[in-house]
């Protein structure tokens, strides 16, 4: 059984004749016909408390937290559902409303377990904050609380604590309306009601972790994050998911140099409120198999030794080629291509990329590279020809400078150069190429460097650096700069990523953050 989704009212053209005058807490405001009282109240700066309402979902009006008093109805109306009427007077702070909120919270908390000390949501819990702001009344009951399942496995990523659930149905509506996979419903009646999956059908849609974000309480928790860190220790950094070409906006929550989770943040142009499970768990791949020290033919050395050897290879090489990656942000790509144009003549630049996977029609793109569009843009700007790495001719005496932090094995087009080519690689991982390379330099991961990316739709977005990389790791462009110095190529490089970004924005016309070039 699922809740019937009601279609939200379509946005109307704001023709003056369609504007309705309403007075909210004494403040007059004119809003289009069909606007809900909740949205009208926001226009005068009043945020009504809600549990079930969410901007990205249909209106259920089941939590009754947003009840307001009007002069058009004898009973209190749910502001998320009731629409404006001409000359409506709305009270959001009257005694009746305050009393109603206390009543609603009393019922919601009636069977709520005393779990805050062990609940992952504590500290970012809508129920805690709403009770603090609108009730603070002691419990009125003195009977035993209802008990329900405590750690129910709903699917690969989500756990349910049915006792904590307040039955707002946000998760159900998300699955029905956004993920289009109706996998959740409510079973039983009254105070025995519980969120559940259908028998044998786990909550396994590609966006299942969005139900955890949506859950206003600690009922749905992420298996990946639960019990890892109390949320008040976390600092959030606005960044970009680098899992595919969509470029979902996410907040990286970290503490003492460790990232604990990625949470989607709202961006109307890119991902709205959502992110896929694969993308937001992708940061874990940078926790293992890291290349942590510079290496010469499999031997750990200092950075100076590695750079000296790399400079020798660049100078001695019969010819030097450059490889870049579609995973790199604009700053690294810009400096690499500028270097290639200045020092490598008109030869093509070779490209590595993650091979295409499966996409869907919500967010996930088949193209798993975060900056393919950015690389194409810069190649056009510099007039550089791009070729897959597999097309690099295997010829003795050549040197390949590969600014490729990740080269997944077994991707067509990424076949490693044959024998005789000396490879200098900046690699995040200790992988096939770093093992085979003449010189391997340890590179940072995306969350350790930040950078500017262009989505497949052409939106230019900046990811901020969330944490420091392990000691000795650098961005590929920093190695390029250090190598340039060691080789005495005379190139001047910017000092910081910020300067590099300004240089790109200056050089490429029409490129601006948030815009589409």
């Amino acid at each position: 059984m699922t809740v019937n989704p009601t279609t939200p009212p379509a946005p109307l053209a704001p023709a003056p004749s369609d504007l309705v005058r309403v007075v909210i807490d004494g403040v007059e405001v004119h809003v289009p016909k069909g606007t809900t009282l909740l949205k009208a109240a926001r226009q005068v700066g009043i945020d009504l408390p809600v549990f079930c309402y969410h901007d990205g979902l249909s209106v259920a009006a089941n939590c009754r937290m947003c009840l307001v008093e009007t002069n058009k109805a004898p009973k209190l109306l749910p502001a998320c559902h009731a629409t404006v009427m001409p000359d409506m007077e709305v009270q959001t702070r009257s005694a009746r409303v305050v009393e109603a909120r206390r009543g609603v919270l009393q019922f919601i908390l009636l069977h709520h377990p005393v779990d805050c000390p062990i609940c992952d949501q504590a500290g970012e819990c809508l129920l805690q904050d709403t009770y603090d702001a609108h009730s603070l009344q002691p419990s009125a009951h003195d009977f035993r609380k209802n008990h329900k399942a405590k750690a129910e496995d709903l699917g690969p990523h989500v756990m349910l604590d049915a006792e904590r659930c307040i039955l707002c149905t946000r998760c159900i509506r998300f699955c029905d309306e956004v993920a289009k996979t109706p996998q959740l419903g409510i079973k039983q009646r009254g105070n025995r009601s519980e969120i559940t999956t259908y028998p044998g059908q786990p909550l396994d849609n590609p966006y299942s972790l969005c139900t955890v974000d949506l859950c206003p309480v600690g009922a749905l928790t992420s298996k990946d994050f639960r019990f890892k860190k109390r949320v008040w220790f976390l600092s959030g950094t606005a960044t970009i998911c680098t899992g595919c070409a969509r470029g979902c906006n996410v907040r990286a929550d970290h503490h003492e140099g460790v990232v604990y989770r990625l949470v989607p943040t709202y961006n109307a142009k890119v991902n709205r409120w959502w992110a896929c499970d694969e993308g937001r768990l992708g940061f874990h791949r940078y926790e293992v198999d890291r290349l942590l020290a510079p290496r010469l033919a499999g031997r750990d050395v200092t950075e100076a030794e590695a750079l000296a050897r790399a400079a020798e290879l660049v100078k001695e090489g019969a010819s030097v080629d450059l490889a870049v990656s579609e995973l790199l942000p604009l700053e690294d790509l810009y400096l690499a291509l500028a270097f290639a144009r200045g020092h490598l003549g008109g030869r093509p630049v070779y490209v590595t990329r993650r091979s295409d996977g499966v996409g869907d029609d919500l967010l996930v793109r088949a193209d798993k590279n975060p900056n393919g569009a950015g690389l194409a843009l810069l190649a056009a700007h510099f007039g550089v020809t791009l070729k897959p790495l597999s097309e690099l001719p295997a010829q003795a005496g050549r040197t390949l400078l590969a600014l490729c932090p990740e080269i997944p094995d077994g991707c067509p087009g990424n076949e490693l150069p044959g024998k005789g080519v000396s490879v200098i690689v900046t690699s995040t991982f200790d992988n096939a190429l770093s093992k085979k390379a003449a010189v391997a330099l340890p590179a940072v991961s995306p969350l350790e460097r930040g950078g500017t990316y262009v989505t497949f739709e052409g939106v230019v977005q900046q990811a901020h650096k969330a944490i420091d990389g392990p000691a000795g790791t650098h961005s590929p462009w920093v190695f390029l700069r250090n190598l340039g110095k060691a080789a005495g190529c005379g190139e001047t490089f910017p000092a910081t990523r910020q300067e590099a970004r300004e240089a790109v924005f200056r050089a490429v016309p029409g490129l601006a953050e948030g815009g589409r070039p």
Binding site: L109, C116, Q128, D129, P138, S139
Partner: protein
């Protein structure tokens, strides 16, 4: 007179900051003509913890333990002063029982403060025995404070809306026991010091300040009252239940060290009487308000109901959300008017917290009390104002 006759050159002498008699790390830059003090320039600030600045990124309840460390001779009064200012800002009220308890603890602290000043003053003039007696009296009261708060000095006992917990059941019995011991010690000190020739020589007519000068320099407390000005916050602007109690404000006449000593000795007796009256009239009822917006819920609610649990959690994480505004709350501290000027901006902690410590005002008029006197008289005079480094921290 000999110094003048010898026509010596003026000498600049740094007394402190690390000098045994300069309690609380104060430096006095002295200009001496022989042994006569021509100019005295006291300099505070060597002891600096940034109490006011620290408060700005703490919650209101987190600020309270810091107040223990202001005047550490009477930490409970600081607690009371801070929450009274905060309650004024918040428009909150404490319970009737808590009002009486707050008076009791304020007077306990006043007695410990005065005994400390008298004991140290005697010691610095060579009176080791009265010092031991004074500290013994103070220790008896610290036992009582320890029973009450769990700590002898870092008490952290008051709360918005009341106090942390109720008086222990045997509090009154213990008080009676210690009261008799303290009265005996008070009597002994009185016998040994008050008519002692050496003590009188060093204190009578020494460190004088006029009533007008004292008012001019913002003096309060014992030092102001020793000049004959009967200003006592408890009487002039009554708070808690002081206006319901029977007590007097002792004043001096000459504003010298001896008057200050005598005022303190008498105030100890007055405070004992106030405590007796409060214990006799202590009302039953809650010791902490049940307004969960400003007071932590009882543990019974926290452990067994989700409502109490959330209220506790939000208070600990966010503090007390005080509507934007400002307030100045003030009480009679051990050394005079102790004021807290608090500014709230709606968050759970202060936007600005300023403390008006009585000793800071005393320090700005200290030179009037020592200039023209002998170098050696700085010791009893500085002691008689009982400057406490913890509260002039800035």
């Amino acid at each position: 007179m000999p110094a003048r006759d010898l026509h010596t050159e003026m000498m600049t002498l740094n007394m402190g900051p690390s000098h045994p008699a300069m309690h609380g790390t104060v430096r006095m830059k002295l200009t001496l003509d022989g042994e006569t003090v021509v100019h005295c320039d006291p300099e505070v600030g060597y002891l600096h913890r940034g109490f006011e600045k620290m408060c700005e990124n703490r919650t209101w309840p987190q600020c309270l333990p810091y107040t223990d460390r202001l005047n550490y001779s009477s930490p409970l009064i600081n607690n009371v002063g801070f929450v009274l200012a905060l309650e004024k800002l918040l428009g909150a009220k404490s319970t009737p029982r808590a009002d009486f308890i707050r008076v009791i603890i304020s007077e306990l602290s006043r007695i410990t403060d005065h005994f400390t000043a008298i004991a140290a003053g005697a010691l610095e003039l060579g009176g080791f025995t009265p010092m031991i007696w004074g500290v013994e009296a103070r220790d008896h009261l610290y036992n009582l404070v320890e029973d009450l708060t769990g700590a002898r000095l870092t008490v952290n006992y008051t709360r918005v809306g009341g106090v942390k917990h109720d008086l222990p059941v045997d509090f009154e019995a213990h008080w009676r026991e210690y009261r008799d011991k303290i009265l005996k010690l008070h009597h002994d000190i009185d016998v040994v010091l008050t008519k002692n020739g050496v003590f009188l020589d060093r204190n009578e007519g020494v460190g004088c300040i006029s009533r007008a000068d004292a008012i001019e320099h913002g003096f309060t407390g014992v030092v102001l009252r020793s000049t004959g000005e009967p200003y006592d916050v408890r009487r002039a602007h009554p708070y808690l239940v002081y206006d319901q109690l029977d007590w007097t404000v002792p004043v001096g006449t000459k504003g010298d060290n001896l008057d200050r000593y005598l005022c303190r000795m008498e105030e100890i007796l007055q405070s004992i009487s106030i405590i007796d009256q409060c214990l006799a009239r202590l009302p039953q009822g809650p010791f902490l308000s049940s307004e969960w917006a400003s007071a932590l819920p009882d543990k019974e609610y926290v452990y067994h109901t989700i409502e109490g649990m959330i209220a506790h959690f939000e208070m600990i994480m966010k503090g007390i959300e005080v509507p934007p505004g400002e307030a100045y709350g003030y009480v009679e501290g051990g050394n005079g008017e102790l004021g807290f000027y608090l500014v709230a901006d709606g968050r759970g902690g202060p936007y600005r917290c300023h403390v008006r410590p009585p000793c800071f005002a005393l320090m700005q008029g200290l030179h009037l009390m020592v200039e023209g006197g002998m170098l050696a008289d700085i010791i009893p005079t500085f002691d008689s104002i009982n400057m406490i480094g913890g509260e002039i921290d800035r």
